[in-house]
Amino acid sequence: MKRTLLLCAWLVALAAAAQTVPVPSNDAALDAHVQALAAQLRCVVCQNESVADSQAPLAADLREQIRRQLREGRSDEQIRSYMTERYGDFVLYEPPLSNRTLMLWFGPALMLAIGGVALLRLLRVRKRLPDEAFDPDSTF
């Protein structure tokens, strides 16, 4: 029992230590807005993280930039274009629809359609086969 308690205390201490120190701010709405916008942006130095999640100094700079611009009253759209002017569409998790991104947007649907048509045709061919074709023992 004592050991379990000790282990629990240790785990709690560990969890407390692991928690990142939040940046002090008295404007929760602004914080949430910055966070929401930053979550749509890809961090360019740590590419599998968003600007919101990343600990990289550049991501912190970008969050600060977003915060400053929101304070100045700029719209989400203006801030997004501020980012793409500097880092390209690369920073957007949802790249805009253009000739270059056609395959990106519609590729999966196209593949599904091709697969669907192929499957339908195969099933139609099989439907016309005699029953013996599906008999595992027959040498059709």
Partner: protein
């Protein structure tokens, strides 16, 4: 015949996509600045806080912008290439962008290793770096006489990069 041909063609297409995917560098962020005007600036220099260099002053010249910092290891690696480039291309203006650095440390770094730059812009907050879309120091931009960015290299310059990429661009721009 077509029974085999279709899967074969599909397999071939798959191979082409996979080979292309393997040869792309996911860390390379294509710069939207290529063939667009270099972002404007009016920055104090590292050597003299009272002296301000503006982008407009550089119009009519081919210039290189090298983003560097004294805390950046790869910058030290590429530095000899800059010293050589300054000698080999005296007609080209080399502008340093001292990024998120401290004035004393940066000045000492240049004194230690030699100063190839016509001027180094002092950007301790990284604000100009942000305008140029800097994400990994060192970075190098080539800007033509009209102030248009023509080339960008991310990472340390090597002899090969200078000879095979930068110098041909400079030649094309008539520097």
């Amino acid at each position: 015949m077509t029974r085999w041909l279709i899967p074969l063609v599909l397999f071939g297409a798959l191979l082409v996509f996979l080979a292309r995917g393997l040869n792309l560098d996911p860390r390379e962020v294509p710069s939207p600045l290529i063939d667009r005007p270099a972002p404007a600036f009016a920055m104090p220099t590292l050597a003299d806080p009272a002296r301000v260099v503006r982008r407009e002053e550089l119009l009519g010249k081919v210039w290189l912008l090298n983003v560097w910092a004294s805390w950046c290891g790869p910058c030290r690696t590429e530095h000899p290439q800059w010293l050589k480039l300054a000698q080999r291309q005296p007609a080209v203006t080399l502008i340093g962008l001292n990024y998120k650095d401290e004035r004393d440390a940066a000045t000492a770094w240049l004194q230690d290793l030699g100063n190839p730059y016509t001027d180094s812009l002092f950007d301790p907050q990284g604000q100009l770096g942000l305008d140029y879309g800097v994400y990994g120091v060192p970075e190098t931009f080539v800007v033509d006489r009209d102030g248009i960015v023509r080339f960008k290299h991310v990472g340390p310059l090597t002899h090969a990069v200078v000879r095979e990429q930068i110098e041909p661009v400079l030649k094309r721009l008539g520097a």
